[in-house]
Symmetry: C2
Subunit: 262 residues, 2 copies
């Protein structure tokens, strides 16, 4: 686009797509898979420890997604850059897309960034992500596959000093159906402490991907939040995926039943 004429060129960070030819309907989406900060953004003013912490990414989310995809013959798509550079689950005009603070930490490299820098990050990280995800979804729609969009996140057990008791949150935007069905199945068939719209909700502006990528096509969709202490090791990540795979299928079967009945 021509607004870019006077800016330095920046590398573009395309999403990583695994099993693009999978035959199942589920696409597992990880906007916060990576804590990688490309060299041109330095350390954003953070210590190495902070850059490893949950403020930079969602630990465990990608591993659980990969196992879910293996069990359900699904696709995985994940962003290769830390959400502290650009949070791909936010629109470019939101402060939280390039946050000046994250939980209790200042992110000094994000302080007072110019509109040109917002545009640069949008073009380097957000647009390749959003368009790559859109290409994946629209291509499968064209083939008649009607994908199911499930975004996979993890959250910290202690947030701003407070313990969180919820273990599995299922979040929806305007289309409630799949989220409600997944939450009901998880409550019935697992011992996970499961809640709808916890620890966040659409009011916290966390459903951008669902809104931009699933709702316009009327695709079944939900956002999953797993407490990260439950998916901290390879074995617990695999166990969580094995627990959730049948729950997600039950959710899809339930909304298909509802659609037929109506």
């Amino acid at each position: 686009m021509a607004l870019s004429t006077s800016r330095p060129s920046t590398q573009r960070f395309d999403p990583v797509i695994e099993h693009p030819d999978a035959k199942g309907r589920f696409i597992f989406v990880c906007e916060h898979a990576s804590n990688m900060i490309p060299a041109e953004w330095g350390d954003l003013g953070l210590t190495a420890e902070q850059r490893m912490a949950h403020i930079a990414w969602d630990p465990g989310a990608l591993a659980v997604s990969r196992k879910l995809a293996e069990l359900m013959d699904g696709v995985v798509i994940h962003a290769p850059v830390s959400r502290l550079v650009y949070d791909c689950n936010r629109a470019p005009d939101k402060a939280s897309a390039m946050p000046e603070t994250s939980e209790i930490y200042d992110v000094s490299g994000n302080r007072n960034i110019s509109s040109q820098e917002r545009l640069r990050r949008t073009e380097a990280v957000y647009l390749p992500w959003a368009n790559g995800l859109h290409n994946l979804i629209a291509g499968r729609i064209a083939l008649g596959l009607r994908p199911v969009i499930v975004t996979v996140h993890s959250f910290t057990p202690v947030y701003q000093g407070k313990q969180r008791h919820v273990e599995f949150g299922v979040i929806h935007d305007n289309d409630l159906s799949l989220a409600v069905a997944i939450q009901a199945a998880a409550s019935k068939h697992t011992r996970l402490h499961t809640k709808l719209n916890a620890p966040y909700s659409a009011a916290d502006d966390v459903t951008h991907t669902l809104r931009a990528q699933a709702l316009p096509y009327g695709l079944p969709n939900a956002m999953l939040e797993l407490r990260n202490d439950l998916i901290a090791t390879k074995s617990t990540q695999n166990e969580m995926a094995e627990l959730l795979a049948p729950i997600l299928n039950m959710g899809l079967v339930e909304i298909q039943r509802q659609a037929k009945a109506s």
Copy 2:
């Protein structure tokens, strides 16, 4: 995307963007600006006369959009390929994206097309269009410009043998505000026979662009439909734009007033 491994490569048809650095907020969007059918799709089984008719494009819509952009310092973006190859205002799984019939004509080149051909057209026409429009919108959002999305269409005065009396239709999806304000201003300040959600409505699946590009970002948006006999010549196209430019501005001012009051 990897689903494309076994298909022949096809040219990609990017949207045309005019005045990308315009300072005004309005982006005028013409999905049906052109009746061009690229050589690889032949004539789709249509006569030269049919390929010139409204079934292939929206005559006058681009000319009115260009004059509106000139008067309002706005951007114009238009698709370079006929909607009979791919209708960029439709999702890839809709029959009307690659219609087998259009009004009273058979489009034999669109009969029984395979899912691979649906994917090929989606990748050649729809995805470059949708991603190009998204890049334009998201880039301006990143710069803090908050674009206003107005799609511009024209319709035939006689449809399936029936005369249409409406002259100016204003169509909305789930966000009614700008469309209602424009319709009210046009009814009050012009002699155009103006109607909301005519000659089509969102129920006819005609608001895909608004739904995919404006709603996820909460941008003001509306779809305009002009009866094409009123914009058949250069001078009437310019007159229509001169009539509508202040109406669109009034609509935007009105929704800003409502937002402040609430």
